[in-house]
Symmetry: C2
Subunit: 501 residues, 2 copies
């Protein structure tokens, strides 16, 4: 092995140790830390962030990176080593284009903006948040200029969430998706089919919910010897290493599908993390490809699997057995329809499979136009509300149920939203391919067997880390580039049956 | 404020952030980490330990220390600042006397020795461990030579656990203690009083034990907003900051006193940590004085308070109410006697208040003699067993119940044992003084009020951090230097009544 590269790789592992330590300390902060620990913990994490930054910008590290890049360019490294260098080079090159003052200003503005956003949302007043959003948009446009882009400044922003993706490509697939969803949703609205979400209301003991959710996670393949399931205010998954990838959820004593879906979603993320190659820890070969691909794993398990008829053929008798008061008189068919009820609503994170992507497309269209300078921040509530009317036929009553609902813009996460829909599209495309590869998939799932599916995902997605770009990975796994066809077909088939279209 | 000192203090805080992060990651390791996380976590902690070491030996830090020392010596610093410099200087001076090769060798030998000790104890064969203990003793004697000492090489080893203490002083107080305990234990052995530990056997639901233990911890003053109580294989307390000081215990479904005592013990440690001045975080002024003083806080709450008649006057009715099957027919008097039963046994950590110190004195005498070259490692089992016979009239059946029972020597912790007994002596001396200052202490405790006692400990012990040495702190708090009189008086009074002597 090339000596320089080997030293470089060691530095990557060192950096990863610090990142993992911070992830573990953040996990503790969100899951178990006592309240008075928050000030000291913030100081601890801020100190470690400073240490991490120093390592990444150190001359020693950058020299090793440059020498490794030269080695890769001259053909002295293996394919895997070259992929490592390529990805680190990509990240560092971007970082190097941002002056320290710019980074500090963005950190300062977003840190203030977050608190203002919390307040504005509570008061339902977009005008409170608008001045900060203006600053953030200006800074993000400057970031795009500093980083550089080919066609749209929005390209430069997508890039941190979905490397190698472009505005044009995303606009094309989301445009197709929108063109499918809007008329399809209209058909559902006109359906007379008996689909009632209320059919599954009830009282659900939280301790019993915990046991059931853990059973589901275990059954679909989550390795509890390499992870944990805990409670936190907001569900999340985090990973310190493929051998220690943890998930959280929250429980509502009046609702159980929320926590099961949440756990299956986070388990999907964690299965990806547990499936990354441990031997490559610290390098991009043990990192997820992109936000979109990560989300494809969570959504595949949450929706394609976890809201399927086959899945519940196995789990519903168990669920009913645990909660006879709620489900004793509810048939599998009624239950299956209830958990797949389509109901346009104001809040993205509560949306069903069909309307969810319309929430995302709305945000994508708005933030792209903001960054490309086509709409002004002050116009946002009007535009938001008019799109909600157009897409979902809803009249937004106030900004907390509208333009102020998401945290993303307050932390500068412009370019993040589309990855949610990319995840949905990738998930359907992957699942369709897996289904062809595993002809008895539905029968297996109906028997509570998910091993073949997980194996397919492991071999085709997880094990590669960042060796391929998202686009290449999809092409390699499914034989074609990302498109919305598989998702549209999946939705059409499933919901035509449920809504008797 | 002196600029150099202020920079020096900032470095101390940085170092403390790293130490606290490691403590939190160790806590997670022992409490919640999934099993497959252990390899990655060891690598993470080892990396952080290396980072920590680099900071402590960095020229930048050492220069700031030297300049601060000069400022302190010239009278340019405040008393508190000077105390900070004094304690850091003390630690660093010791470290600087140990060559890197020596430190590495000791780390290597003890890391191997630990595994060998685990195996030897399991196989009950001291001869397996003996070669490693010989190496450790030789290394520790060399450490004493490198560090330097006045009278005994053992002085140099005590020093890391009990700063400023000497072998001579410790031998004197422990000698007095032994002279009191041996005849007193003989009297107890001859007593015909009805004291039966079996009186409190029963079945104790673990979830109910948890609730009860948390209640006790809260009642005696543990701030759950600045800490947590969890389960671990071995009970411990750890602190990342005075606002985040956590404890653990374990539960035995056949025994409840073990877990209550364990929790009260760890709470005692945590009350000290929570009482250290948060503003001084990172400096010795927010650190415990010594192992002995730390142990005095745990033992004061565990024994002087937690095994007292006043304490149980309040808690026993509550306990009985929670566990009526076990305690319905057991009077407070019978219960009180049972939890204070004196029964010579082989294992130190299971020993009662009276015999415990004899276990410690035995170890102190043996390890001191080993380090001073008066006995050879091969003789240890024979000497151990003969002292067990002499002190406790017990015939040790095998080495796992004898010389192999403690982990300390395997990690090189020679000089640690006596601090357990110093803790017991300090606890009795502090408690006697607190009692004089709070005339109604027993009545308060019998009403479940522990605030006055905690306030006394906060003001006289906790708040000072390492400003005073243990000796000076004790003198300041109690008016006299450490002696065994208060402990002997306490034991005599309490056990004369229980055993009707």
């Amino acid at each position: 092995m090339n000596t320089t590269f080997s030293e470089f790789q060691q530095k990557l592992v060192d950096i990863a140790q610090l990142k993992s330590a911070m992830a573990a300390l953040n996990w503790d902060k969100d899951v178990f830390m006592p309240p008075k620990g928050s000030g000291p913990r913030a100081a601890m994490l801020s100190y470690l962030a400073g240490e991490l930054h120093e390592k990444v910008v150190s001359r020693e590290f950058l020299d090793l990176l440059r020498e490794s890049k030269a080695a890769a360019d001259s053909g002295a490294l293996s394919e895997g080593e070259s992929a490592i260098v390529r990805e680190v080079w990509r990240d560092v090159s971007r970082e190097e284009k941002l002056p320290v003052e710019f980074v500090k200003e963005l950190a300062q503005v977003t840190s203030e903006a977050y608190l203002v956003w919390v307040d504005a949302r509570q008061k339902k007043e977009f005008t409170l948040f608008a001045p900060y959003l203006k600053k953030i948009v200006a800074l993000k446009r400057r970031e795009a200029d500093l980083v550089g882009f080919k066609q749209s400044p929005y390209d430069a922003l997508i890039d941190t969430f979905e490397p190698y993706a472009t505005t044009e490509e995303i606009a094309a697939v989301l445009g197709d998706l929108r063109n499918f969803l809007t008329p399809f949703l209209a058909k559902i609205r006109n359906s007379k089919a008996n689909v009632r979400r209320e059919a599954i209301a009830g009282d659900f003991d939280v301790e019993k919910q915990k046991v059931f959710c853990a059973l589901v996670a275990k059954k679909i393949g989550y390795d509890f010897d390499a992870g944990r399931l805990d409670v936190s205010a907001h569900p999340f998954s985090t990973s310190f290493h493929p051998q220690d990838s943890r998930i959280t959820t929250r429980y509502n004593p009046k609702e159980i599908i929320e926590s099961i879906s949440g756990v299956v979603h986070e388990t999907g993320h964690a299965l990806y993390e547990q499936g990354l190659p441990a031997k490559q820890f610290g390098t991009p070969l043990a990192e997820a490809v992109s936000h979109g691909i990560h989300e494809s794993q969570s959504r595949l398990w949450e929706n394609l699997v976890g809201r399927s008829s086959a899945f519940w053929t196995y789990f519903y008798p168990l669920l009913r057995n645990e909660f006879p008061a709620a489900f004793g008189n509810v048939s599998l068919e009624t239950f299956y329809r209830a958990i797949n009820a389509v109901e346009p609503s104001f809040i993205r994170v509560e949306a069903d499979e069909v309307t969810y992507n319309l929430h995302v497309i709305l945000r994508f269209e708005i933030e792209r136009a903001m960054i490309e300078g086509d709409i002004a921040v002050d116009e946002l509530p009007r535009i938001w509300n008019s799109k909600m009317k157009e897409f979902l036929m809803l009249d937004v009553p106030d900004d907390s149920l509208g333009v102020l609902q998401d945290v993303h813009w307050s932390f500068g996460g412009i370019g993040y939203f589309p990855t949610y829909s990319l995840g949905n599209l990738y998930s359907a495309q992957f699942f369709a391919t897996a289904r062809r590869a595993i002809p008895a998939l539905d029968e297996e799932m109906a028997r509570g067997e998910f091993g073949s599916l997980l194996k397919w995902l492991r071999e085709n997605i997880h094990v590669h880390g960042k060796f391929y770009s998202a686009q290449d990975l999809a092409k390699r796994a499914t034989g074609e580039k990302l498109n919305s066809k598989y998702f549209s077909e999946y939705i059409t088939r499933k919901y035509s049956e449920i809504y008797e279209l």
